[in-house]
Symmetry: C2
Subunit: 341 residues, 2 copies
């Protein structure tokens, strides 16, 4: 499935402004009937940049900074379509964002009601912010909790595209902080976050391996080798598996430019082997996100005999449309119901 | 056991100049009969600093830089004791150091012969460099190799202090790159490196958790909690266990300043649980290195019912003395034989 981002003049049909506003990136869409994408933008306004010169302990200052960015990015849409509703998901709803939008505690279903959305005002109206998901800690068994913010909307979009098989299923969203969710009949039962993408960035960008791999090139074979090294039994743990990259380079068995892809294989392999037992499924696992990352997770899962299907990260627009219609911000167009993107 | 570093005038008894010259630190000792420490220095001349302004691809430039530092640090000892031999271990013998001193391939015994030492010349004589250890990769089974440089000398020193029980034993040297060695009758049979210390530095210094833990305080209880979280079965893998620190902080269950100690517990716990099965021993495991780090590993091993004994990192001076006497650089003093530090 491919979602084509179209720039059209179809002004009359615009129904919703939808934003995915994360820590390091931002996406904005103008959606028409049935959630059809009329226009799309990728402004360089992740929250880190938005807050670059802001005292983040000052809630009013944060709100002013977010409002200014929102109006800069979507102002022309707001002027062209007065009274159009706006909705956003992602870290914009965190305590470091525009306004803390709270969490739904799992188990929770994904048909989010209007009352669960948080409203912030801006110069030209209101913006609704989607809550994140929270897994409460189990203090008695010393099991920590977990949080999701933004990915819940991707999952909502992905579920719209998947026929309900009537059985629980697993959705994995690879990224800086990869999320694994267990979902049964549109209800999230549990989830786990692995900071694999962040570890990859730290190890290959700042650690001793960064000195070795000064010029990186893509090497799928090196990725496969790292994956195999981290997937073979018994596990020696991530810290030991990572050092093997250095040993291979010293032995001339791994070209330094291929080292980042080897490390990617090691980290993803270690994550998958450890989390899969908790998320095993006879159904295919749904991967949702960046195409290259999803391909890597699909390879890792394939090593364990698990089939996958991949949904692109643009599915967030679909998820925001679904949240907006469920909450009654926009009316679903009857003739567009059930239409897939 | 404590090694007291004494500054003495006992010039007549000086027998050996011994250096532990690593990537980020340097130790130099003037040793007397039986390896007794007559004088000790901790110059701020790790290799990274030594090579700060050097083109490290130029072997002659590297050698000049190392020679200058060596004469600056030990020149007065060399002048006061003409013809005194000098020996060094650590990354000074790597391809990025003074001169590549090669490796002994395991299995290998630790009675290193004179021919295995590498000699470099300096303005006032010669310096012998101890070889590292190398575990050859097993290409057939896609098992990577491993390398040690410097820790072999610590192990040699530690073994001098331990009665030979006639059975194999495990020595663990915690650090930036923690080493686990399996030793039988002074022979190293195998070893594994885990880059746990490096991961700790990256995660707490550069990652998202660094933003949370802006002011760190020591918190032994937080360490114990991290250790428990990473040691309980079944393992969810390091990438997921690390994210739990963020979730705990968001839930107000972990004070941000205590976060580094929690992360330390998670990383050490994950390393120990994964490597212990390969290094399990009915004997006590010997921990050798920084006292605080050894204490942390002892706690982690204790969770698995494994007893430990701790040897301080100053044991390197003892190891260098033993290498020098075994290789015939100095004569062991008969009346000092068997004397412990």
């Amino acid at each position: 499935m491919a979602i084509v981002i179209q720039s059209t003049r179809g002004a009359a049909a615009a129904r919703l402004i939808a934003l995915d506003w994360g820590t390091s990136s931002q996406r904005a869409w103008l959606l028409g009937d049935g959630g059809r994408i009329l226009d799309g933008r990728r402004p360089e306004h992740g929250l880190l940049r938005t807050m670059a010169d802001v005292d983040v302990t000052d809630a009013a200052a944060r709100a002013r900074a977010c409002e200014a960015v929102f109006l800069e990015v979507c102002g022309d849409w707001l002027r062209a379509h007065p009274a159009i509703p706006s909705i956003a998901c992602g870290m914009v709803g965190s305590a470091q964002g525009w306004w803390e939008a709270g969490y739904l505690t799992v188990p929770t279903d994904l048909d989010i009601e209007a009352g669960a959305l948080t409203v912030v005002r801006h110069g030209q109206g209101e913006l609704y912010i989607v809550p994140g998901l929270r897994l409460a800690p189990d203090l008695e068994h010393a099991i920590p909790g977990d949080v999701i913010r933004g990915e819940e909307t991707q999952v909502i979009g992905a579920l719209d595209l998947m026929p309900d098989s009537g059985r629980p299923r697993t959705v994995v969203l690879p990224g800086t902080h990869t999320k694994w969710l267990r979902i049964d009949n549109r209800k999230v039962n549990s989830f786990t976050t692995a900071m694999s993408g962040e570890l990859y960035g730290l190890v290959t960008g700042h650690g001793i391996l960064a000195y070795t791999a000064t010029t990186a090139v893509r090497d799928d074979q090196a990725f496969a080798r790292g994956l195999a090294a981290a997937s073979t039994a018994p596990s020696r743990g991530l810290a030991a598996a990572l050092f093997s990259a250095r040993a291979l380079a010293l032995d001339g068995l791994l070209d330094p430019p291929s080292l980042p892809d080897y490390v990617s294989g090691v980290i993803i392999g270690d994550e998958v082997r450890h989390l899969l037992p908790e998320y095993t499924d006879r159904e295919r696992i749904v991967l949702c996100g960046n195409a290259d990352l999803c391909r890597r997770y699909a390879s890792a899962l394939d090593l364990h005999g698990v089939a996958t299907e991949i949904v692109g990260e643009e599915i967030t627009a679909r998820g925001l449309w679904t949240v907006a219609t469920t909450a009654g911000l926009v009316e679903p167009s009857p003739h567009d119901r059930g239409r897939t993107l």
